[in-house]
């Protein structure tokens, strides 16, 4: 929508708002500075960098997954597989990153707006992903066996306690709930 500037300053001049009156320029830059600082602080406090990692602890930054983490940590998969191994597709890196970003944004926005249900269920989009990942590791058990489709009978219809017998945001007792990962903000706590 922006036409190419004619003056030699070009894009740089446009971005530096040189075309604005000075006092507005000053205010805009001041506010941009505030926004940037606030953004950086929020990112640090929310442990935002951890979301780029593969560490399961990243999933409990926003508390909703606290129980899922506690049950996973002590369950059969706690020693061999992390959240992303099962809940994110491993077909190719792009699908992986896109799925993780979309799921993460959805979780974060739902929780920020306080719309989370008390009992979490796999979404329709997540079911084939998890089933695929079950087979990624356990597939050799089914050589020569026809498996029903994921909508018909997913693995967890029978193997239902991967995350423990009870599922709710509150299922695990207090002492088993993991501590919040540190965000380097000890002085605030």
């Amino acid at each position: 929508m922006v036409a190419a500037p004619k003056n030699p300053g070009g894009w740089l001049s446009l971005c530096l708002l040189e075309w604005l009156p000075f006092r507005w320029r000053l205010l805009a830059f001041a506010l941009a500075g505030v926004a940037a600082g606030l953004g950086l602080w929020t990112a640090r406090m929310a442990n935002a960098a951890s979301y780029l990692s593969d560490d399961p602890a990243a999933c409990i930054n926003c508390h909703v997954m606290t129980d899922a983490y506690a049950s996973w940590e002590r369950g059969s998969h706690g020693r061999v597989a992390g959240c992303n191994d099962c809940h994110v597709p491993h077909t190719n890196p792009i699908a992986m990153a896109a799925f993780k970003a979309r799921d993460g944004m959805r979780h974060a926005s739902m929780f920020t707006l306080r719309l989370e249900p008390q009992v979490l269920r796999l979404s329709d989009g997540a079911r084939p992903v998890v089933q695929e990942n079950c087979l990624r590791c356990h597939g050799e058990l089914f050589v020569g066996i026809r498996l029903p489709g994921v909508d018909e009978r997913p693995c967890w219809d029978c193997h239902e306690n991967i995350h423990g017998a009870a599922r709710s945001l509150s299922a695990s007792p207090h002492v088993l709930r993991p501590r919040l990962p540190s965000a380097g903000l000890g002085f605030l706590d």
Binding site: L14, A35, V119, R167, S168, S170
Partner: protein, 472 residues
């Protein structure tokens, strides 16, 4: 905002950019404060703002320290919720089911019998019902209704509390069922404050102080949601000496000869069942799996990063996701329809038992009018007494049998069987008097008609049951 923009348009650009950036700052700030708040919730220690006195009856004072629990407790005020057979609405059982006017004829339950509202209404409801209007009502009726009770029991002594007239005690009782009925104010541990449960368990040789936390999550409810009677007219006692199954409690009652009222139609010494929710639950699959009252009626909730027990005690059908979905992973609609299917079957058999019982009362009345011997009638009355207690054991239970569906069907089937056995005996007694036609049962199809019939028997001016007429 383009290079070619006129000076007039450029004048808007500055404020617009400033406004947009200010909006960004606002939104990032809101997000930051939300994240901070959650962090704080996750890490904060339990804050006791003000220590509580040993017998503090005021729920609001506890609420200062435990706001989430208190706020959810306050929602027991809601008396508009309904489920298929329950909820918080004071539904009128007698209006819905006039048979009960006959079954409780001559007893206050035939005059007013409504579904109980939430805990918050306990004091208002016990003092408002016609069933406690009599000046002779004993203080025992107040035992389960108020957090003022433990304080008064400590002051007066337990027996003296029970003996104090209800309407005298009323002045001292303000606060409805609440925090300190179940909690120790210093540690918040669950604790038993009502002596009847302690005594009942002692009589069974069980030590309450050895109960695990899980057991306590049912036992605190068993302080009140049980079968009980007033020993020596005032002393609150559970008939658990031989056990908590319906037959064991009946055996205890047969042993001590307890009678709640004599039925004016059949002259049967009737036992009124209270609300043996705990005893029925104990026979069911949920109890077998260690799922307690609190797990379904007060499930845990997570709000933000805070986990707490929802103190809005209510039908689990009003909170299926939390109450059932935690273990049963099917959809809410499916779970609800499953529960209602089970309840509908119990409800159908319950009505069959009522029909058989109403008929049995009239048959026994007819046999008496025909001049049958008292000793012969007593055998029929014994069967009716057994049948009616079994029916009432399920009928008075909350949850339309869902606390233990198979046990409910078994007990109701026994009730139908015993009532029909009683009818057979009455038919033989009538035959012995040369009467082969069925007795004439009065029309009790509405609450008003049933009330008129019941009152006629109470006054001693019963209708003629022996005339020729169609039996139901």
């Amino acid at each position: 905002m383009t290079e070619t923009a006129s000076p007039k348009r450029r004048r808007w650009a500055g404020p617009l950019i400033a406004l947009l950036l200010a909006l960004v700052v606002l939104l990032v700030g809101l997000l930051a404060s939300s994240i901070l708040e959650r962090r704080w919730e996750h890490q904060r220690p339990a804050l006791v703002l003000r220590p509580l006195a040993e017998w503090e009856p005021d729920n609001a004072k506890w609420g200062e320290n435990y706001p989430h629990e208190y706020e959810s407790y306050l929602r027991t005020r809601d008396d508009t919720t309904t489920t298929l057979y329950g909820g918080g609405v004071p539904r009128d059982y007698l209006e819905d089911d006039p048979r009960q006017v006959i079954l409780f004829a001559g007893y206050p339950f035939s005059e007013e019998y409504k579904q109980a509202r939430g805990h918050h209404h306990a004091v208002a409801d016990v003092t408002g019902t016609k069933r406690t209007a009599s000046p002779a009502t004993v203080g025992t009726c107040m035992t389960c209704k108020s957090t003022d009770v433990p304080r008064l029991m400590a002051k007066l002594g337990v027996s003296e509390f029970y003996r104090t007239p209800f309407h005298e005690l009323k002045k001292e009782i303000r606060h409805p069922i609440g925090c300190q009925d179940c909690h120790d104010p210093a540690s918040m541990n669950l604790r038993i404050t009502r002596p009847a449960l302690r005594e009942a368990l002692q009589a069974q040789g069980k030590d309450l102080d050895q109960a695990s936390h899980r057991e306590m999550r049912a036992l605190v409810c068993a302080q009140c949601h049980v079968e009980y009677y007033f020993k020596d007219k005032t002393y609150l006692t559970f008939p658990w000496q031989q056990g908590t199954a319906v037959e064991q409690m009946l055996a205890t009652y047969e042993g001590n000869g307890h009678v709640d009222f004599v039925h004016p139609v059949s002259r049967t010494p009737i036992l009124k069942a209270q609300h043996p929710d705990y005893e029925l639950w104990a026979t069911g699959i949920h109890a077998y799996r260690g799922v307690t009252c609190a797990d379904c009626h007060m499930p845990y909730r997570t709000e933000g990063a805070l986990k707490f027990t929802n103190h809005h005690v209510q039908s689990p059908l009003l909170d299926i996701a939390n109450a059932c979905g935690v273990c049963h992973r099917w959809s809410e609609e499916e779970l609800k329809s499953r529960v209602e299917t089970i309840q509908a079957k119990v409800a159908a058999l319950k009505l069959k038992a009522e029909d058989a019982l109403v008929a049995a009362h009239f048959d026994a009345g007819a046999a008496a009018q025909a001049g049958a011997a008292e000793a012969d009638l007593d055998e029929a009355r014994r069967l009716i007494r057994q049948a009616q207690f079994r029916w009432d054991f399920i009928s008075a239970n909350n949850g339309m049998g869902f606390h233990s569906p198979q046990e409910s069907m078994r007990v109701l089937a026994d009730a139908v069987d015993l009532a029909q056995q009683a009818r057979l005996r009455c038919a033989r007694l009538l035959a012995g008097k040369g009467i082969s036609s069925p007795p004439r049962h009065p029309d009790v199809s509405t609450r008003e008609k049933a009330w008129t019939v019941a009152q006629a028997f109470v006054r001693g001016e019963p209708p003629d049951l022996l005339g020729v007429g169609a039996a139901p």
